[in-house]
Symmetry: C2
Subunit: 217 residues, 2 copies
């Protein structure tokens, strides 16, 4: 599917990929007037050691020079390539309730190359309505629509009790990845990746930080 | 503020705390008829090695026995104590738009001990309305309300351009932790912890998994 060479290490761990994503997030913000960003600055922003930053970025090739820092533009390009986000991704959104509507308005997706190209819902009252310029289709139309829309990813924003059935329909329709907001653990066929956004888990991390750790921002 | 002894290692790293939270999430689901859960099962659910599980859980005390597994009830209690979630937390929600309303309906918060006890918004049309049984107050009332409501945490669900000013008001009002949904990096005074839910970053992790990794579910 990809028209560029694979990254240096295609078996990057999820934790390492997450760190690279965080370096990418801050690399632009931390760029100095001379166009460089240092491992110390990235370490401070992400909350890891500078040595960890240097180890992680060493896998991307020759980007930095001791005492000078990384060329920021080159670093951003290398991180985007390694993470596979140096291209646009077309996604459908299933579940056009409050959360779905909030996600549709979320600028961060488009800013990072993710385009919502289709809306689906099970509620008859919602199907046929237009939201943010897109007409909501029934979930039963998903299988036919995914190919027409050239969508690869799906965002699942339905209530927990509907999540399993809808996720299976998304996998059967040919989507390759599902971003799951339902507080359930999805089991999908091999070949379909899932990232679950577990809001309760993130709230627990906040409670932990408040109670036991120095606040780090 | 806490009425129980500190955990064995109060300097647990954020990554380790996150793993403990994930073990906690799966410990109940994976409990066998005999009331035990194994490091191999937890490792499979969370996506780390069984050795990592055993190292992490060794810091919690004597919970497991080689070849038998962990006593699930004891493990859940120890994880909740270590993470500081063996108590209830009172939180306010600032920003009662689509995302805020979706978060209010999200059952996972209450299920994990987080109670939303107050709603705040800047929009005059929203202030004074009742949502999920709570009356929306103006953000200017936050400082007076936090003490009255005995709230410690805040959920920030306002648009990006309002996020900094509202977050500063939340810190000034005495909240100790902010869960930030705005796609901005907040800089708050020391003493206020922040967890940012970066949806674009999580979408990038999904794109990475789809493109380069074996799907793991």
């Amino acid at each position: 599917m990809s028209d560029h060479p694979p990254p240096p290490d295609s078996r990057l761990s999820p934790a390492a990929a997450r760190r690279l994503s965080e370096y990418l997030r801050f690399a632009r913000a931390l760029t100095s007037i001379d166009g460089t960003v240092s491992s110390v600055e990235l370490a401070g922003a992400v909350g890891v050691s500078a040595a960890q930053v240097r180890r992680d970025l060493a896998t991307l090739g020759h980007l930095g020079q001791r005492g000078v820092g990384y060329d920021a533009a080159g670093l951003v390009a290398a991180l985007r390539r390694t993470l596979g986000v140096d291209r646009r991704w077309r996604a459908v959104l299933v579940g056009v309730g409050n959360l779905g509507r909030a996600l549709l308005k979320y600028r961060g997706f488009a800013d990072h190359g993710f385009e919502i190209v289709g809306l689906f819902d099970t509620a008859p009252a919602t199907v046929g309505t237009t939201v943010e310029g897109l007409t909501v289709e029934p979930v039963s139309a998903l299988a036919a629509a995914v190919g027409r829309l050239r969508a690869e990813l799906g965002v699942l924003a339905v209530p927990a009790d509907a999540a399993h059935a809808v996720a299976e329909a998304m996998a059967a329709a040919g989507l390759r990845g599902v971003m799951n907001f339902a507080p359930v653990r999805l089991r999908l066929p091999r070949g379909v990746s899932v990232v679950t956004v577990d809001l309760a888990l993130q709230m627990e991390q906040l409670a932990f930080a408040v109670q036991f750790r120095d606040p780090t921002g």
